[in-house]
């Protein structure tokens, strides 16, 4: 593995222990992110992509949600071995997160300056008179116009796109090594979404931060991600460079998913659709999890789970059909 890997997740298992039984939300997920790289996790709701993000930050709702096995290695340190107190020092400083809805991730009764300043005060040993300059710097990094004025404003005074930039400023204020962005553009309008993505590419170039981009939208993936992992029912079924995923998808689920996204430059009379629904996480099929919806399933698919096969440097697929 090259030396500039920032985060390596190995065989992560995260479960929720509910009254109805153990829900294996993340079931053996491995991936890595390099410095300055954006790794996308794509999947439908309930496939475990957000839980993967929360597991890295160790922010699962305890006691029901627990990391059962695996390693999460950030720059050589296994986060799962850290004490709670030590982990707190990592959050916001080394790893930060942007959530989907900026309306709920900001506190309505504190000013923008207070909220961006909170993480600066917490993690950087700065005299109070320098905090403000640091906050303004962070706002400027996110290209928020007139940051000197904005620090005294409240979230309700900003538009949705601006609020999401403030959330980004909080996340970037301590120059983290890893940023986890969980559907950060889903709540934004199309033209604002394009702005936000362009902004993040720029920030990544400036700060060399590694980004994990969690989304369900292949259009967003195409724009920002260098590599992608496609998740289905708690497992990554295919990992590849973004270019390859679109040009030559291998896993039947990836193929079907890409085909079912309507495209602007193509008008089909009938959209391709995947029959059925994702399985319930409490009652998973015995073999390959996609098997009940797969059109090219073999006999073996019903009985045994396919192993992850590495087919090239950047590519691995879990499917019995791919050798």
């Amino acid at each position: 593995m090259s030396s500039n890997v920032v985060l390596q997740v190995e065989n992560l298992h995260t479960s929720f222990f509910t009254r109805a039984g153990e829900v294996k939300a993340v079931d053996g997920v491995s991936f890595y992110v390099r410095e300055g790289e954006t790794f996308g996790i794509v999947g439908e709701s309930g496939c475990g992509k957000s839980v993967t993000g929360l597991s890295i930050l160790r922010l699962l709702p305890e006691p029901s949600g627990q990391i059962v096995a695996g390693k999460i290695i950030l720059e050589g340190k296994n986060l799962l071995e850290l004490s709670k107190k030590h982990m707190r020092a990592y959050r916001g400083k080394m790893i930060s997160m942007i959530l989907q809805d900026p309306m709920t991730s900001l506190n309505p009764v504190f000013t923008i300056g207070d909220q961006v300043g909170e993480s600066v005060r917490m993690h950087q040993d700065l005299p109070e008179n320098m905090v403000e300059a640091e906050v303004i710097d962070a706002l400027r990094l996110l290209r928020i116009p007139a940051p000197e004025m904005r620090i005294n404003e409240y979230p309700f005074q900003l538009s949705g796109g601006m609020k999401q930039r403030v959330v980004g400023a909080i996340a970037m204020s301590c120059r983290p090594r890893l940023l986890i962005a969980d559907e950060p553009t889903t709540a934004l309008d199309a033209t604002i979404q394009a702005q936000y993505i362009a902004l993040f590419e720029d920030i990544q170039e400036k700060t060399n931060v590694a980004i994990i981009f969690i989304t369900h939208d292949f259009g967003v993936v195409a724009r920002i991600c260098d590599r992608v992992g496609v998740m289905y029912a708690g497992k990554i079924v295919e990992t590849a460079l973004t270019r390859d995923i679109f040009k030559n998808p291998k896993h039947p689920y990836t193929i079907a998913l890409i085909k079912s996204v309507p495209q602007l430059d193509r008008k089909d009379d009938q959209l391709f659709s995947i029959e059925g629904q994702p399985p319930s996480m409490l009652n998973l099929p015995p073999g390959c999890r996609f098997c009940p919806r797969c059109t090219v399933a073999l006999d073996i698919c019903k009985e045994q789970e396919p192993p992850e096969v590495k087919i090239s440097e950047n590519r691995s697929v879990s499917c019995w059909r791919v050798k």
Partner: protein, 326 residues
């Protein structure tokens, strides 16, 4: 060809007053919809596209008569809705126009069984016995691909895609001619979206339904619609048939929207260079910019755009509101 038109909006305007102080004096107007005209033909789909705050939902509310227009008129089967009596509206208009909401989790009463959710419009409008209504409900559910065993279940027992199907069944209960679909698939997962969009298309063919689709995802719109109206800050900026509009967008805003929804791969530097990224955000409808409302964000704007209000012009088969096409 006048008979082909099911619903027509003529220059509709909706301004909301902004009041302040103890006496609730009006201090300004939010120009949510400011002079919009369009028509929907029988068996066809028209889409209204725009960002949040553009006035899409306000237009839908006007058509559903949930609010009164400030000015303008809406014609349904050539009758002016504002000249119909409340009785006529209830008998002739309400059963024919239905609304399917974005979020199938909040559009159904969680305490009602599916047979009551879908059957309610039938109870209210036709005085039928319970047994007959149940039979109708089973038929309706079959049309949207839900088995008869579902009628005694509750909404929480269904997945998002299935709920959206149930919402469609409810909208179809009274044999409507127009369905207003407000972001019908954006709350659903990618793999389910295609199923639901196909369902809408099939139903349209089967019952000669007209749709008014409200959406912000252009790829969805292209797949579903026959004509498209692009809305910006309460006004139409471009309106035309879907094929031509996507093949040859005229208005700079339409171009930017299309560019924002196009698939560009990270390595595709040529595609990236062509990408149009708008600066700034949509101005407030409380105080819209002078001249062309889009000029504050337009890369092709000149001095004239900030002064003169452009007229809607016919260019080829499209209507466009821009000074660059004179």
């Amino acid at each position: 060809m006048a008979t082909k038109i099911l619903l027509e909006a003529r220059d509709i305007v909706k301004h909301y007053p902004v009041t302040r102080g103890l006496l609730q004096r009006t201090v300004g107007w939010v120009r949510a919809v400011d002079g919009v005209s369009f028509s929907i033909e029988y068996g066809k789909t028209m889409s209204l596209v725009g960002e949040s705050g553009a006035g899409k939902t306000t237009i839908a509310r006007q058509i559903l008569l949930l609010e009164k227009l400030t000015s303008g008129s809406i014609l349904f089967e050539e009758k002016d809705l504002y000249k119909m009596t409340p009785k006529e509206i209830k008998a002739e208009y309400r059963p024919k126009v239905h609304y399917v909401q974005q979020n199938p989790w909040s559009s159904m009463n969680p305490r009602m069984r599916i047979k009551d959710v879908v059957g309610e419009p039938i109870y209210v409008n036709n005085k039928q016995s319970k047994k007959d209504v149940d039979k109708d409900v089973v038929k309706l559910l079959e049309q949207v691909g839900i088995g008869a065993e579902g009628i005694n279940r509750y909404p929480h027992e269904f997945s998002g895609g299935q709920r959206q199907r149930i919402a469609v069944a409810r909208a179809l209960a009274l044999n409507p001619s127009l369905l207003i679909l407000d972001e019908p698939v954006s709350a659903l997962d990618v793999s389910i979206r295609a199923q639901i969009m196909n369902l809408f298309k099939d139903l349209q063919k089967k019952f000669n339904l007209s749709y008014l689709v409200i959406a912000h995802n252009l790829a969805t719109v292209r797949y579903m619609s026959h004509s498209v109206a692009i809305l910006y800050l309460g006004q139409l900026v471009e309106y035309g048939d879907s094929e031509t509009l996507f093949a040859r967008p005229l208005h700079p805003y339409t171009k930017a929207l299309i560019s924002a929804s196009q698939l560009t791969l990270p390595e595709d530097s040529e595609g990236k260079a062509k990408q149009i990224i708008l600066t700034g955000e949509m101005p407030s409808p409380l105080n819209p910019p002078s001249g062309c409302r889009f000029h504050t964000r337009c890369s092709e704007a000149n001095e004239r755009c900030s002064k003169d209000v452009p007229e809607m012009r016919k260019v080829g088969k499209q209507l466009v509101k821009c000074h660059h096409y004179e």
